[in-house]
């Protein structure tokens, strides 16, 4: 990875309405922390014409209305600061200097209750026999290590989690399922994840959460945001049923707290 002086990100154009700031070329907690820090900085201090950001593992895409952004930045006197030709680019690179990634104290953790039992866990035995662990031990290890949400993508509310216990690595199913119900928790290779909407997929399903990871009629529709930690908490069948009813309410709120306090 080549990066400029002051450890600045690479700046790439993705069309005239999007600039991508690339902080690295791998999957790395430190790199992603800088991505999230820049995202929050821009969200808190949006520039004229700013629309939204798309944070990914190692880069932040910044989407904007180029006419507003470029014209208003000029009008605001960036010209006087010698930034005329590349006002927006300079502004974004400047914002990328001295990023202060989240203090450990600020990190948030979402508790995701998961029922690892019966019909909700059709592939638990398969993961157990592949890994040589007992089903109970698979559950203990899956719930025993917090995962980090690097980014969301693929479908609404789908989180790319990192940090699963490596001993749980299990290859995907040879024949993917056509329909996986929303809330299913699976393992695919080295990754674990939660299916937010009904979709096809080849992951080993080891449980299901009663939480609605995506509900377009709720505000917010998605509560898991990039940079958050996820802790899977084992629950039994009756608890699953009870929480599923609660989570269906439009005023339902997830259990998100500071990571340090949640130890």
């Amino acid at each position: 990875m080549t990066s400029g002086p002051k450890n600045l990100p690479r700046l790439l154009h993705s069309g005239e309405s999007c600039i991508v700031l690339e902080f690295g070329d791998g999957i790395d907690l430190g790199v992603n922390a800088r991505v999230q820090a820049l995202r929050k900085k821009i969200e808190n201090h949006p520039f004229p014409g700013f629309i939204e950001t798309v944070p990914t593992y190692r880069s932040l895409a910044v989407c904007f209305d180029p006419l507003k952004a470029r014209e208003e930045l000029e009008a605001q006197g960036l010209e006087a600061q010698g930034l005329k030709a590349q006002g927006l680019e300079s502004l974004l690179l400047k914002a990328s200097e001295d990023l202060e990634p989240n203090d450990k104290e600020d990190e948030e953790l979402l508790r995701v209750p998961v029922c690892y039992e019966g019909d909700l866990a059709p592939d638990l035995e398969r993961v157990a026999s592949h890994t040589g662990l007992s089903p109970g031990e698979v559950v203990r290890r899956h719930a025993g290590k917090d995962c980090y949400c690097y980014m969301l993508g693929f479908v609404p509310g789908y989180s790319y989690l990192g940090g699963m216990d490596p001993s749980l690595e299990t290859p995907r199913l040879k024949e993917p399922r056509e329909k996986i119900p929303p809330g299913s928790v699976g393992i695919g290779g080295k990754q674990t994840g939660i299916y937010p909407i009904e979709s096809p997929g080849g992951w080993n399903l080891i449980g299901s959460t009663p939480l609605r990871m995506f509900d377009p009629n709720r505000d917010p529709a998605i509560f898991l945001t990039p940079g958050m930690w996820v802790r899977f908490v084992p629950i039994d069948g009756p608890e699953f049923t009870r929480l599923a009813q609660e989570a269906a309410a439009s005023d339902w709120r997830p259990d998100i707290r500071k990571k340090e306090a949640a130890q």
């Binding site: 790439l12 154009h13 069309g15 991508v20 999957i27 989407c63 993508g153 609404p156 377009p216 998605i222």
Partner: protein, 368 residues
Amino acid sequence: MRLLIEKPGVFTTVQDLGRRGWQMLGVPVAGAMDPGALRMGNILVGNGEDPLAQEAAGLEITVVGPWIRVLEGEGCFAVTGAEVGVMKNGVPVALWRAHRLAAGDAIAFSVFSPLDPSLDFPEGSAFGGRARAYFCVSGGIDVPMVMGSRSTYTQGKFGGHQGRALRSGDILVTGAPSVLWAECDGLECPPGLRPVRDPSVALRAIPGPQDDLFTEEGAFYSGEYVITNSADRMGYRLEGPAISHKNGADIVSDAVSLGSVQVPGHGQPIVMLADRQTTGGYAKIATICSVDVGNLAQRLPGQKVRFAKITLDEAVALLRQEEDHFRQMRHLRAAWRSRPKKFDFRREGAFLVRVEGKAHRVEWERLE
């Protein structure tokens, strides 16, 4: 107005300019595939007077159009985009022009081809070889806002009318129109202000963001590609000269823009469109500039595509020019609505207003 969908067409959805602000959480933008056509249609019917207001939603009609009956109310409509035959009560009406609409009226679209089994359109009125037309109404199509937009995202089954394409028997309601909607009747968008949607024109693209991962861009910009049958609101797969990567096609997943040209390992480009996933793991050689995205979205499988390289500054200038066309159209609208009328205004009059069942007589008189 209340509108009854008598026949839905093949794939008719409610679309505005899309859902912004949620890509961070994996929610696709969706929205009109030819945003320029939707925006022009909205100007014609008097929508978007308030520059801060959300763009009104219209119907995006794909290849086979719907039949629509007005059950209640009055307003005006315009059809933009594909050159398609449209009839109001059996009489062909001009595209890119606002027409009055009242209870009882029936709107019928032809199939977007010369062969229309069900309607007797005058010859030549019904074929344009384009994919999408927009039915815009005064007040816009009023469906519930989902995450800040009325656009239908059919794959996620949300937005628009019940998260899906329209079916026979669906009833749509229009929103509050501009107070001057009736004055828009007859307003037309001159050909020079319409977005260029000529299928023989090369699509202008800005290199990047991963153009450095390809051995040479030559094949991409000099080659001629054909749109495959795998072409929908999510993206268009093209077939033509293969583009080769330096070290494989895979990258660590990053954001996918509207018009991004992804090239997977087989070397055949895929252009990402309105319903695209927010992120992807293939290297992107170029991005079609915003004003030309609609020119691809209007093409059909089997039609050809060429790309022309432009700079970032050129793309911004094109966008400015397009914005200027919208501005000019709004000026034309203002002039049209205040034009001298041939008929004489009455100097006085009276009418009845019924409020909660009680009739009130209102008399008025013009003061000079």
